[in-house]
């Protein structure tokens, strides 16, 4: 009820223009969340639950590079700044004791070794974990991940701090669950991407999004402490926002959002630089469409988006140089340094070709196997768990080629039937292709550097997961090949196949660690 003074004030006030009252940020967030399609929210929840199951299933630190990512987050919390690149890794006493207690060194890469199996081992592990040890005497895995940007680790500092009073295992589990939440964001944006890119086939949105949510290598990674997860989510958001731009047009708010998504990716993992050329191309196409001509204004919104993306990177570089004592460009001091390696363009291109496909006659052979597409990538997607040490029997990888070929055929049929519509969207498709090529080229380049330095390949399918929205689109486009009569059946079959793949992968991991 208004008081007398208030009534007086309101009488003196001139008749005001009716401007909308600014709403509190929480209410705005609630309104925005309410606008999220229910299907997208459910698919996201499915991804979170599945990733959470994987996070509990796999023993601590038995995910790729998990000890290093944990060490980075721990360093960030303990020292208030990210670690610097180092010539070697030194784990904190607390983490080292936990790794010893968990038989990490015996198990890593040796699939025949089981985990803690007896009450006696469990008691020893508990005693070692309770003894603790310093958390501040490590160098944050400066060699392995010291060149990486700090955003994912800043996020992981929250569960780390929440479980600060517990053991290393408590902290790892809570951090893994935080990663599982990020998987939900990835699938949410994947659904929204499909909704924008394929508006005419609503049921395919769910098929594609669930295909990602149940992809076991994605769920496995999503249950890990690993900065790849934030990169996947940011990349999915980027795909969604670009698709939105292609469908509804680019405006200032969307440009800022695209820049923010790219910035998040760039601050999550260095690999995100592979997304920059494709994003720049997409923004140019969108800018040209908006202005209908090439003039200075055509570049205004693309420049705004790229400026927003660059801002946090420049800020990190400034902090690196002035406060954190890191090299200005962190990554060049780490795994991507090419000084003294003398890379050659011809050799690099030949390597990149063989990295994804197969050597052509006359190509100098790199040790990547006779047919990398099958041996590294399809095999990797079917399943390589733990420290790339847990596999299905060989026959499973051969049988898996059947559904892969079937989905490729269905996809081909859909694309053929819709080729006229595809031609009308050539700029959009070229942008997605550029995003894919950029990510793949970055991974191949990193592997080439690794090949020159260590004579080893870093080919792991998880590095291509920033392209998961495109994988979802392939699944979503395969289903409609059945026409109105069979599309529902094909969609269901694709999802059941993904679920079966996930279930048998979990059983494989159970057999590897616990049987």
């Amino acid at each position: 009820m208004a008081t007398g003074a208030q009534r007086q004030l309101s009488r003196r006030r001139p008749p005001a223009r009716r401007t909308p009252r600014p709403r509190p940020p929480l209410a705005r967030l609630r309104t925005r969340l309410a606008r999220v399609p229910r299907g997208a929210a459910i698919c996201a929840l499915v991804a979170i639950l599945n990733a959470a199951a994987w996070s509990v299933l796999v023993p601590a630190f038995q995910m790729p590079d998990e000890p290093a990512h944990y060490a980075y987050a721990e360093y960030l919390v303990q020292h208030g700044q990210p670690p610097a690149s180092q010539p070697s890794d030194r784990r904190s006493s607390s983490e080292e004791a936990a790794l010893e207690a968990l038989k990490f060194h015996e198990m890593q890469s040796f699939a025949e070794e089981g985990t803690i199996w007896s009450a006696q081992e469990q008691a020893q592990m508990r005693a070692a974990l309770s003894a603790g040890g310093s958390r501040a005497d490590g160098n944050g895995a400066g060699k392995e991940v010291g060149g990486e940007p700090p955003l994912y680790y800043a996020y992981q500092a929250i569960p780390y701090a929440l479980a600060g009073g517990g053991t290393v295992l408590d902290r790892v589990q809570l951090m893994r669950l935080a990663s599982a939440l990020v998987a939900g964001v990835t699938v949410l944006f994947t659904f929204l991407f499909l909704r924008e890119a394929l508006p005419a086939v609503p049921e395919a949105w769910t098929v594609g999004a669930l295909g990602v949510a149940f992809a076991p290598m994605f769920a496995f990674m999503s249950g890990a402490v690993n900065s790849d997860n934030l990169l996947y989510a940011a990349s999915a958001a980027l795909f969604y926002l670009l698709a939105r731009g292609f469908r509804r047009g680019l405006d200032g708010r969307l440009a800022v959002a695209i820049g923010a998504a790219l910035a998040t990716a760039l601050m999550a993992k260095v690999n995100a630089f592979g997304l920059v050329p494709g994003t720049a191309l997409a923004l140019l196409v969108l800018g040209r469409r908006r202005e209908r001509a090439w003039r200075p204004q055509t570049l205004a919104l693309p420049a705004l988006a790229l400026g927003v993306a660059a801002a946090p990177v420049l800020l990190e570089m400034a902090l690196n140089a002035t406060v954190w004592g890191r090299p200005v460009v962190g990554a060049t001091a780490g795994n991507f340094r090419t000084s003294a390696l003398h890379p050659q363009l011809g050799s690099a291109l030949s390597y990149a070709w063989q990295f994804y496909l197969a050597p052509l006659p006359g190509m100098s052979s790199h040790p990547l196997g006779p047919f990398a597409l099958r041996e590294l990538w399809i095999r990797g997607f079917v399943g390589e768990f733990g420290w790339v040490d847990t596999f299905f029997s060989r026959a499973v990888y051969d049988v898996a080629l059947v559904p892969v070929a079937a989905i490729a055929l269905l996809l081909g049929r859909t694309l053929l039937a819709r080729r006229a519509r595809l031609r009308a969207r050539i700029g959009e498709l070229a942008s997605y292709a550029a995003l894919a090529v950029g990510v793949m080229a970055f991974v191949a380049s990193a592997s080439y550097v690794s090949y020159l330095r260590y004579h080893e390949s870093i080919a792991q399918v998880r590095y291509l997961f920033p392209l998961l929205p495109l994988y979802a689109a392939l699944l979503a486009l395969a289903a409609p090949a059945g026409g109105r009569r069979w599309t529902p059946v094909l969609g269901a079959a694709i999802v059941v196949l993904a679920v079966a793949h996930d279930v048998f992968s979990q059983l494989l991991v159970v057999a590897r660690y616990y049987a």
Binding site: I42, W117, A200, P202, W205, V489, A500, A515
Partner: protein
Amino acid sequence: MDASAGAEDEPQDAAGERRRRRTIALAIGFALLALGVVATLSRDAKGRIRTNGVPAQAVVAIASADPGGAGAGAVRTVCQDRELIPSGTGAIRIALTGFRRVPPRLSLTVSEGEAVRDAGRAARWDADADVLVPLAHPLARSVVGSVCIAALAPEQRYWLRGAAVGAFEGARAGGRRLPGRVHLEYLAADGGSWWSSIATIARRMGLGHAWSGASVPLLIVLLTLTSIALGAWQLARSDS
């Protein structure tokens, strides 16, 4: 085109028919999946009781019944002393690579001091690069003794995989000490399916985590089943 045009323009009965087809396909698919899981879990579990802790990193010996013709360094018999073979062991898995088109012809003996405790029956190829040798009788008590592997076929060669160890800890072959030991796994007596091992596996899953007990495997099952049920429900109503 509007995002929901595809669904809204469709007559109700056509949409209902599509939903019915999808639901039936899902039901059939999940029934087949359940059958597949049951069939898989009904297979021989060959549960590991323990390993000898030697990682299968590299070839430590080449075994052949004709070592002279098999190349430099080949041996006929490899014996590994001070192996702890747990009670209940019914088979031994050897990390070993060979020509898989023909059955492996190997003999295996388990000795305790001078006494032979058991002899392996017919060896067979197991996983991608392993040989499984069932014992004649499951061991009633744990034995600390020697495991000897001998090649029987002169035309076959076997690459035994293991890891380098200290100077006096290597396996023996023809009176000399090898630089490494072979990886061995001691498996429970066969005849049991995965179903019969579920309690053991569930107990192990409850160890080595942030918390312990049966709630660990139960939570994993619950999370997985909930995600599947939720996904199936969403797909069934996906064009509504």
